[in-house]
């Protein structure tokens, strides 16, 4: 056996240990993980609670968006009805799409990840519990305020895709569009926070010996899901930012009369928007792949192929964005590339469908509600997938694009690929969090109502589209034979709604929240989430020897509960979990975890306040709220990066692991690197925009500032990076007085500011952000950089404060490491943008 970290796999053979654990250890563990009561519940950060709140909130948004859909269906039941006035209808369909995509589908998958992942990996919690709490609160507060805009008639009305120029200031002068841009931009930030958490969780907190080949499919699904969010979401953040800048400051990113281009929005939006579909589908598919083995009482056939499908989808789905733009008149050759990629991306979906069928065939499927939902979802998804292949054919797409055919297609894909799996998940995993399972009898009714409802609603829509009905219309003319299929769709929508209503009844009758007295493993799953658990998850963290540990080792539950595996107690006297290596999951160190805290909640409210108050142009309260958010984040960070009394502790069977490590193997370093990838993607999207406008609007391109004007900035950036690096070196040498290394790091961080100012000064002397698209994007580079420089300055202050309180006390220290990493990256990106602005010069 080879090793990844030097850990000797032979040590696994010591488990399960024979000796009994000392008295009182379990009580100590329970005491440490006990949750606050009463109002203090809001400070809980444990995934058992936060995960459930998250799921509940996402489901609430599903219901709200569903109600909007029902009202729209009533309006469309007959031609030329007056139930919803035009303006309200336009707000309704915009909100329906936006809420379903941004406030239901993605958060629901993230929520299920928060809830299920730690249990499946047998981790005590996710690695950054306070970050999940922050992500949840930011999403919840932001989402509710965003939805409330509907009640005051200020909801956005430009469609969930928000194409400019319709959404520009000229054609959407109100603040409706700003609600969308700031609200959604902000919710994306919460999604990214969750994604960082999930990636680090999957790669670093798996149970020992849960090597990549033994990792549960859901963990693969979430890993790919979160990685795709990291790559895709910056695109939508960037384009919403551009549009907001255009609206607020008249920077012409999308204005063709000043060297912008409306299609730039579409490229950026769909670079996010199409992967988004897979971001929603993959976790749901992964959950299906987890449930089917239990439901069919056999192992998953084609486990490896499904992992393959996930990884292939993760890449290829980034090559299909323009198939939403076939009708924009793109060059024929480009269209061909996107058509080919759109074909390629359906192969992985086929692999999964046939894997599921093969698994059902090899097992003995049971007739119960989750099985029905899985099967129903499968059929619906296949139908949506087939129409998907149809629309990947460019000429066919020219006919059905933006018609009800597409409405039918996308609802089949998302309902079959995500909604039905989520309902199956509710039935299947409810035993983890409720003391009573849901009713099988009601469940079957729910299923059949929903299944029939989906087909009655959406099957006729294919024909409605063929008959010429475009999407996003608040009414249609009589006499075009459209009435029949539309009426049918409305009837179907109510049947579907009846199914959902029945589910709510079931939930009200049977759902009883619990953490440790759940109804349990009703369907006989074989993975670790069905180990006996408390708030601390499993009492001890087992050594994983197969993909279905509970099936292959009948004693595992007892041994885990009796503490015969890793980390049976709390050796440091804190909440803690085991950090393992990414490929082979070899134990590396014990992470000390933070407990309940009110600061994530406050900082989320502060962040939400910042964005929402900005929307209504209340600038001073907005900035006050933003500063509050920053202070709360710093306060919450303050408790972290602490040192435990013992440098090494016994994690079971005499295996000693460190309690504090620094450098590249820490979870903090990983999170920072992923964050920097997000930042880099923002930069890359800006770069794409710059080159894109250079290509399509050469006539507006003016000679950029000379290269020599950037030398001052480049020199200062170099100095900043040098000082930051020096600080880290000095830290390693000194043992007692720690002022010199911190001072060097702080000087490094603060040097970024004059560098940026020098760059801005020489660029703005030549390029005006209002004059041309070139100027606008050049200033977007600078704005991007400004954000990083401000964060670096904050980090410098924070480091200074920690040094003053004597909290930077190791020869190597994570806070210093992360500050260095960030400052060096900022300096490199700053230099790159300074060069790019000057080098892309006048073809025009």
């Amino acid at each position: 056996m080879t090793s990844e970290t030097g850990f000797d796999p032979e040590l696994y053979k010591r488990f399960p240990v024979r000796e009994d654990r000392p008295e009182g250890e379990l009580e100590e563990l329970e005491r440490l993980w006990e949750q606050p009561k009463g109002w203090a519940r809001l400070t809980i950060v444990n995934n058992n609670y936060v995960g459930l709140w998250y799921v509940a909130a996402a489901f609430l948004f599903f219901l709200l968006a569903g109600i909007l859909a029902l009202v729209m269906r009533v309006q469309l039941a007959l031609p030329l009805q007056g139930i919803l006035p035009q303006e309200t209808y336009n707000q309704f369909f915009t909100m329906h799409g936006t809420v379903m995509m941004f406030l239901f589908a993605v958060p629901m998958m993230e929520a299920l990840g928060v809830m299920l992942l730690p249990q499946m990996l047998a981790a005590r919690d996710l690695p950054f519990p306070r970050l999940s709490a922050y992500a949840f609160w930011a999403y919840f507060v932001g989402g509710i305020s965003f939805f409330a805009s509907l009640f005051v008639g200020l909801a956005p009305n430009g469609g969930w895709f928000m194409y400019p120029p319709l959404t520009g200031k000229a054609f959407s002068p109100g603040i409706n569009a700003d609600f969308w841009l700031l609200g959604i931009g902000f919710i994306e930030i919460s999604a990214i926070a969750g994604a960082i958490e999930i990636i680090v969780g999957v790669l670093r907190t798996r149970a020992p010996n849960m090597t990549l080949d033994k990792m549960p499919i859901f963990a693969w699904g979430m890993l790919v899901f979160a990685s795709m969010i990291i790559i895709a979401f910056p695109a939508v953040i960037m384009c919403t930012l551009f549009l907001e800048l255009e609206r607020a400051f008249n920077w012409p990113f999308f204005d063709p009369t000043r060297g912008g281009d409306p299609l730039l929005w579409q490229h950026l939006f769909w670079f996010f928007g199409h992967p988004e579909v897979y971001i929603i589908f993959l976790p749901a598919a992964a959950l299906v792949s987890m449930m089917i083995p239990a439901l069919a009482r056999t192992t998953l056939i084609g486990h490896d192929l499904i992992v393959l499908a996930f990884l292939a989808t993760a890449f290829i789905s980034f090559g299909v964005w323009s198939h939403h733009m076939f009708a924009t008149g793109m060059p024929r050759l480009s269209v061909g590339f996107f058509a080919a990629a759109s074909m390629a991306v359906s192969v992985p979906a086929g692999i999964q469908v046939f894997s599921w069928i093969a698994t059902f065939a090899s097992g003995k499927p049971r007739h119960n509600t989750p099985t029905l939902f899985v099967l129903g979802g499968l059929v619906i998804f296949v139908m949506g997938g087939l129409t998907g292949v149809m629309v990947a054919m460019v000429p066919f797409d020219w006919q059905v694009h933006d018609t009800y055919f597409i409405v039918a297609h996308l609802h089949y894909v998302l309902i079959g690929g995500a909604l039905f799996p989520v309902f199956a998940v509710f039935y299947y995993w409810i035993g983890m969090t409720s003391s009573r399972p849901l009713s099988e009898r009601l469940g079957k009714w729910t299923f059949w109502l929903m299944f029939v409802g989906v087909h009655v609603t959406f099957l006729p829509m294919h024909i409605t589209g063929f008959m010429g009905m475009p999407r996003r219309v608040y009414t249609y003319l009589p006499g075009g034979d459209l009435t029949f299929t539309n009426f049918l769709s409305t009837v179907g929508a109510f049947v579907l709604a009846a199914g959902v209503l029945l589910f709510l009844v079931d939930l009200a009758r049977n759902f009883r929240f619990t953490v440790n007295k759940g109804a349990g493993n009703t369907y006989g799953g074989g993975t670790l989430e069905w180990l006996p658990t408390g708030l601390y998850s499993a009492r001890s963290i087992p050594v994983v020897k197969s993909r279905y540990p509970l099936w292959d080792d009948p004693d595992i539950s007892r041994d885990v509960e009796e503490g015969r595996y890793f980390l049976p107690g709390a050796p440091t006297g804190n909440r803690e979990t085991l950090i393992t290596s990414p490929v082979r999951a070899e134990p590396q160190y014990v992470q000390i975890m933070p407990g309940p805290s009110v600061w994530p909640l406050f900082s989320a409210v502060g962040t939400a306040g910042f964005f929402l108050l900005l929307t209504i142009e209340a600038y001073i309260p907005s900035f006050a709220s933003g500063i509050l958010a920053v202070l709360c984040v710093l306060r919450w960070m303050w408790d972290t990066d602490r040192v435990a009394a013992a440098e090494e502790v016994d994690v079971g069977a005499g295996i000693m692991l460190p309690t504090y490590v620094t450098g590249r193997s820490t979870h903090g370093w990983w999170a920072m690197v992923i964050l920097l990838i997000v930042v880099f993607m923002l930069f890359l999207m800006t770069l794409f925009s710059y080159l894109y406008l250079f290509g399509v609007q050469p006539d507006f391109w003016q000679e950029p500032p000379a290269l020599s004007t950037g030398f001052v900035a480049l020199g200062l950036y170099g100095a900043a990076a040098g000082f930051a690096w020096l600080g880290r070196r000095l830290l390693a040498r000194e043992k007692s007085t720690l002022w010199s290394p911190s001072t060097a790091s702080i000087v490094g961080a603060l040097l970024l500011l004059p560098a940026l100012i020098a760059d801005y000064w020489s660029v703005s002397a030549v390029l005006d952000p209002v004059m041309s698209g070139q100027g606008a994007v050049a200033h977007a580079f600078l704005a991007n950089q400004m954000m990083l420089v401000l964060i670096a300055a904050l980090m410098a202050l924070y480091l200074g404060a920690r040094t003053a309180r004597n909290l930077v006390i190791r020869p190597r220290n994570n806070t210093v490491d992360l500050v260095t990493l960030f400052v060096v990256y900022t300096a490199v990106q700053g230099s790159a943008s300074a060069l790019i602005i000057r080098l892309v010069s006048g073809a025009g």
Binding site: M1, T2, D304, L333, A340, V347
Partner: protein
């Protein structure tokens, strides 16, 4: 890191090919013939790279080290095969569009 590069190498080649082809088509929207020749050349180069990667990953799989390495080598081989098909399709527009 090396593990991940080995595992995902094929898909990275696909990515290079796709964005390369997209870039070529965007730089020469009018001169279709040049674009097609360049895209075709890129396709051949990427197919060759993938063939090499596939051979390497398949050899690694046949070395039979331990369960984890073998599994990763198998998955890498499969991904290389998928990338091969996808790049092959991606070459069609250069011939047919």
């Amino acid at each position: 890191m090396r593990t991940w590069v080995f595992l995902l190498g094929g898909m990275v080649v696909w990515t290079v090919h796709f964005f390369g082809a997209y870039g070529i088509a965007s730089i020469f929207p009018e001169r279709v013939l040049i674009a097609k020749l360049l895209a075709g050349g890129l396709t051949l180069a990427c197919l060759a790279a993938l063939a090499w990667l596939a051979r390497r990953s398949w050899a690694a799989f046949n070395r039979k080290e331990d369960a984890v390495s073998d599994w990763i080598a198998l998955l890498a081989s499969l991904l290389n095969a998928v990338a091969l098909v996808a790049v092959f399709w991606q070459g069609f527009p250069a011939l047919l569009a």
